[in-house]
Assembly symmetry: C2
Homo-oligomer: 681 residues x 2
């Protein structure tokens, strides 16, 4: 790209002007960071980033992540200036209802935004996931002389991201995985919201990254475009390490009174200071006015046309030689499941249903995964150092490894598909978000359900971003046994169900588990969490497995236990407690009390069914008792009359002892149903 | 202490034997880590730790934290052997119901256990909190020649703790605060559950700690007691840095077939291997049999007597010279509030009630904090880099700072009491747990409510441990406005309420906020979370502030809006939505419909009231509508007929626009009440 003719000062000042004007117009926002990173952005976006504003979803584009998402006006300015579908009117609507320029960047809302950022530390972790996906896809699909996957992942990040613990998890894994095409630019301005960072942030960041196997360049003057440009050029040469470029900057650069102060961070500069800043930086244009020559210098469409045309040509050549790989690549990047997915799903569910095995639901999950991972090559498994406990690995998913040169180790030309994330639950979840955002893979991984607390905000982010990420949370509730209350997830099922847009499954047996996997995989725009038992669960006999797809269903009518009467009450149960419900049903039958057992593996899926189905499963006039080994508050939404559950922490003891201790017994469920019926009379 | 006469090999092997025997007896647990750390434990507990088994709560004892809590048999063995109230029968009951030896160490259950560990990374972070408390207390109470506070905090930690992101937050702050009396011993065995760690853990840990301002010693041979002993001696000389001692060890040391394998981690060795191990290490005693001479070598009571007697003498001398400081120290360490706390509380609540100001509840919190922090010197505030937003600072709480030598900066002899935690929410929460476990301070600190997700497991741990930690979560829900859905906490109020043992407050105005603070401070054995608004909230006029202490109360009967009829429905509201309820009540009154408004700032506190009070507030026969700007699922437990809330993510726009968009308006509440009443007819 012809660099010499561009007015880089004006390019950077255009960002500064748009940032301060948009924040001023919104009367809220963060001008300091975009103003401080403007020159870094000129270096990266003006000289390196391979993208096409007219084709924001081009498969081989470089990925750019703004990890310090509060600097959203930086990316909005860049997208606007370089020619994306983001007009000056969109910028004027910064932070307004339903605009394309929300307070923090949101994927799916603004073309060119690759991930939703704002919760600090997660953007750089998403970027690690994107770079991992690129490395794996390149290994899987590229052929000698045909590098159809070959792009960089860039991230801007600030002090805040580096203070967050998740950044350590991301940095450590990027180093271990030798993600050499990941280049992070650190906006090192020495200021965070509470002021000059030295009393609370003394990290030698360069040394810290080196300790995790990174290549570190700098510090460079982050306001010297050529210096940053040179550092990026050098970073791209790294063959076996990710690179951090430390860019020394001034927050609010250009503002005479706000630069280098925390005040530049999170509030409008004000009319007077904006005027002063315009004078100081020599920007004579009115608010939201960008001269044509600056637009021309920024516009990336012509370059984008060339890049995409070149890639298209190369992809055609690839396709000619490797037609099935090319088709597969396009399918994978589109996020479409293999054409035979429905048959695979039927097979997995039918196998479970036919065998009717008594196994732990974590084992049921592995059995289902054997089917799915064999048939769906994009499934990318993993565990936060609990592989043998979560059972997320299968015969089809050897471990992902890189060799000393940084190359991915392959077996029959295929990279490993089980990621050992180490003890890094939050990092794992946010990396999975990055993997799915990149495209080409469906990530899933495991930890103990209790530690969903650690990854909770990344689960939320997947739901907010509508991304298919599948969390396998095993060792559910007190069935975990002796590890005790720190590891027993009494409130987690209920609290995960509160996350909007997340499907939570707590299956009762092998068939429900296989169905849960089927729906989770088919849900292209929704994350799922599968809550699975450590302990064996007896098979819950059922006529029909299809009905499980509705989230809740009638598992057993009184007829199943030999009563010809219609049910007078409903027991709703999930997971390991479905067997208690069935035992209670039998016990009640002995006393002549006919009850229906409803298994409800997924409340959110059930909630999406039509009213008629819901009423058919839970007849409005029948009293209801819910049974779940967890906090009871959640269940009242289903109009229950009583809940058998646990509203305290667990204890350390064998599982059988605990179920008795906490009253999760058929006897107690029976007694509760009888009490409810007595009251209703 | 006389070292040369002790049989250190036998001392270490006693730990190994107890660990493998207890795990075998329980048929579950983790033998590998205690066997691997046995020699490190001999060095620390046998030669350095200043404690007294007969007085486990002696104020100036060294603190010991087993951050890798799965190695619980290490600490149980140590407590038993050194003479704590933990019998061999207690060890035989390892992991059994109601034993003193649960699967992971639990504070309050086992004498000598300082904190509950198991969720990795939090133990070392608790240790940072303990060391912080020690440093602050020493600054506050010691006088020249009278160092009544002068102890170390030791932590053992493993690879898992170091992989967790929170360890980065803890390490960074310990370095920034120059906690020179914090000494961490790293059990560097190169094995985690998934196997040899090299593919997923390549950190140069020493370099990483040095990058954060730590003194690093080693690697030393972790099985060479003298080497570890020497390293600890050296570490204690550090004047201005915390110390990490890297101890190279073998997991499962002593077991011929399991040592150095992941299999040693989490399952019993089995009878045969235990036999082989006994032979290999030369331990000829039966299971759970420890020879008297080994007990004698381990017993720390005689030394403890001397240490405590010496301290008592020194404390008496201190008391003679500084009687009020001595009394204050004892009060503070006992966790008792100042005698005039009730008056202060009345004053703070009355002031709020009298002024009846319209301010944001975060500001109301700061107003209350001005009273409380002025009167309660042990209140130790802070923020995760959002001080000016959370408003957790007051005139009485200057910032905590250390100078270049590591000394705490004082003003009039007092250290600062506002901690700038940086952008480290999880670390902040777990450090606060450590501070309160140490004693002497009541920690509270703020971040945005959304980021309670980041710290969630540490909040849970405070509740499980029954510790008084107060979380100030501001920028509640959509009232946050333009920062958008990443920052808007729609599900957080409900999901925090599900954590057993946590009091959640969502106050509606200044008086409710002052009462929330009062109860949070008075709750010695319970953490609290205060959910506070960014935006102004009008004062909700009330007769009586006392009734707020019951968690929910009748705020306004129909008479308040000029209707003489009895209420036909109840609107339950919290926080910012109480004003909506009051407006709806007025609107309904215009239509002749009398309704009661119940303000319910704390559901858990209300849940603890007696049935009569609950029925008085929520008469069983009246229909109920709940209003809260969050997910609706939670509210059904109160037998409501409808909930006005938000079951999706928020949006980026000004707060007023959002409340309208999401139907959180008096009109919608009014319509909902009318609809419910129409249905009931």
């Amino acid at each position: 790209m012809p660099q010499t003719t561009k007015n880089i000062t004006a390019m950077a000042n255009a960002i500064r002007a748009l940032a301060m004007d948009a924040v001023q117009q919104a009367n809220s926002g963060h001008p300091g960071a975009p103003m401080g990173m403007a020159d870094m952005a000129v270096a990266l976006w003006g000289r390196h980033l391979r993208h096409h504003p007219a084709q924001p979803l081009w498969a081989d584009r470089d990925r750019f992540v703004l990890s310090n998402g509060h600097a959203s006006m930086l990316i909005y300015a860049l997208l606007h200036l370089s020619g994306y579908e983001l007009s000056i009117d969109d910028l004027k609507a910064f932070r307004q209802m339903h605009s394309k320029t929300p307070g923090h960047p949101e994927v799916g809302v603004t073309p060119g935004v690759e991930t939703t950022t704002g919760p600090l530390g997660q953007g750089i972790t998403n970027a690690v996931g994107m770079a991992l996906a690129e490395k794996l896809l390149a290994t899987e699909f590229n052929r000698p002389g045909h590098a159809i996957v070959n792009h960089h992942t860039y991230a801007f990040l600030g002090d805040g991201c580096l203070m967050e613990g998740i950044s350590h998890e991301a940095v450590a894994l990027a180093g271990a995985w030798k993600l050499n095409k990941l280049i992070a630019l650190y906006d090192d301005n020495g200021i965070s919201i509470d002021g000059q960072v030295t009393p609370w942030f003394i990290d030698n960041t360069a040394q810290r990254f080196e300790a995790c196997g990174w290549n570190v360049i700098g510090p460079v003057d982050g306001h010297d475009v050529d210096a940053v440009d040179g550092a990026i050029t050098k970073a791209k040469l790294s063959a076996d390490k990710p690179t951090l470029i430390v860019c020394k900057t001034h927050i609010g650069k250009g503002s005479p009174n706000r630069a280098n102060t925390a005040k530049a961070h999170g509030e409008p500069l004000g009319g007077d200071e904006i005027k002063l800043t315009r004078e100081t930086i020599g920007w004579e244009h009115d608010a939201f006015v960008i001269p044509d020559e600056v637009y021309a210098d920024w516009n990336a469409k012509a370059d984008g046309d060339i890049l995409v045309a070149d890639w298209n040509t190369r992809f055609e050549a690839y396709k000619a030689l490797f037609p099935s790989e090319a088709a597969e690549f396009l399918r994978r990047m589109a996020g479409e499941l293999p054409a035979n997915f429905p048959e695979i799903a039927v097979e997995a569910v039918a196998a479970a249903h036919d065998k009717a095995e008594t196994v732990a639901s974590r084992k049921a999950s592995q059995i289902a995964l054997e089917f799915f991972t064999a048939a769906i090559p994009e499934m990318l498994g993993g565990s936060a150092d609990l592989t043998g406990s979560n059972l997320t690995n299968t015969k089809s998913t050897p471990a992902f490894r890189v060799d000393e040169t940084g190359a991915v180790v392959t077996t029959d030309g295929k990279p490993g598909r089980h990621i050992n994330y180490g003890v890094r639950e939050f990092g794992m979840a946010a990396i999975m978000n990055g993997v799915t955002l990149h495209g080409g893979y469906i990530p899933y991984a495991g930890t103990f359900l209790t530690f969903s607390d650690y990854s909770r905000n990344a689960i939320r982010m997947a739901a907010l971003m509508k991304q298919r990420v599948i969390h396998v949370f095993t060792h559910d509730s007190i069935g975990l046994g002796e590890d005790g209350p720190t590891h027993q997830s009494v409130e987690h099922a209920a609290s995960l169900r509160l996350i909007p847009g997340l499907d939570v499954w707590r299956p009762a047996d092998t068939t429900e588990t296989a169905v849960a996997w089927t729906i989770a995989l088919a849900n292209k725009h929704r994350p799922s969490a599968l809550l699975l038992s450590r302990q064996n669960l007896p098979y819950a006999p059922k006529q029909d497995a299809d009905v499980i797809t509705q989230g809740a269903y009638v598992l057993a009518e009184p007829a199943e236990v030999g009563l010809k009467k219609k049910a007078v009450a409903v027991i709703i149960a999930t997971g390991s407690e479905v067997q208690l419900a069935l035992h209670a049903q039998a016990e009640l039958a002995k006393r002549g009390v006919p009850v229906r057992v409803v298994s409800m593996p997924s409340t959110s899926v059930f909630d999406r069914q039509d009213v008629a189905y819901k009423k058919a499963v839970l007849p409005p006039k029948l009293p209801r008792v819910a049974v779940e080994a967890g906090v009871t508050d959640f269940w009242w939404k289903y109009g229950v009359d009583a809940v058998v559950g646990i509203d305290t922490y667990g204890e350390s003891a064998p599982a059988g002892v605990l179920f008795k201790h906490f009253g999760l017994t058929p006897e107690n469920v029976t007694a509760t149903v009888l009490k409810v019926l007595a009251k209703k009379k």
